[in-house]
Amino acid sequence: MQVRERLGEIRSAEAGVLVVTQSRPEAVSAASLPLPVVCDSDRAAYRYFGLDRGRWSMFFRRKVLAHYLRLIFTGWRPRPGVAGEDLLQLGGDFVLSAERRLVYAHRSNDPSDRPAVADLVRRVRELASSPVGEAARKE
């Protein structure tokens, strides 16, 4: 997901991006990611947001194999998991209002299941143009 390429559009709607990883802080600091990142090594926030663990069989689904093939063609290489990471943990994408209400939720069913970045941008724009979003910006 190329969120970083559309970060300007998200920020223009006066929203931020926060990336959560199950990796430990020392692994994140070594990775030097271009977005704000926080760590949830015990995966309490993953559980809170209802993000499931998948099964090993999910890696053999046709669309998941195609997903990883595409990644490999872009230079990504499979590697052993970072210590402490659960390889079966699934991700998710959420949009929160300034009042910290959930306005959009996508919980992945497999490693290839992510919303289009355009959908996230649209949700953020809708939020910014809603009465709630406009009121929050005036405060």
Binding site: A15, V17, V20, T21, S23, F49, G81, L96, L102, S108
Partner: protein, 41 residues
């Protein structure tokens, strides 16, 4: 493990910054896109 529904208030969760210090979700002001990764690439 259902998680919050759209419209629900979200708890003020605690995370660790890459430097190991604790940070709360409320310390990030404004609306936000929250992305949970499977793993670091």
């Amino acid at each position: 493990m259902p998680g919050p529904n759209v419209g629900d208030a979200v708890a003020d969760l605690a995370f660790l910054r890459p430097d190991g210090s604790k940070v709360l979700l409320s310390e990030f002001p404004g609306a936000m896109v929250l992305i949970f990764l499977r793993h670091l690439r």
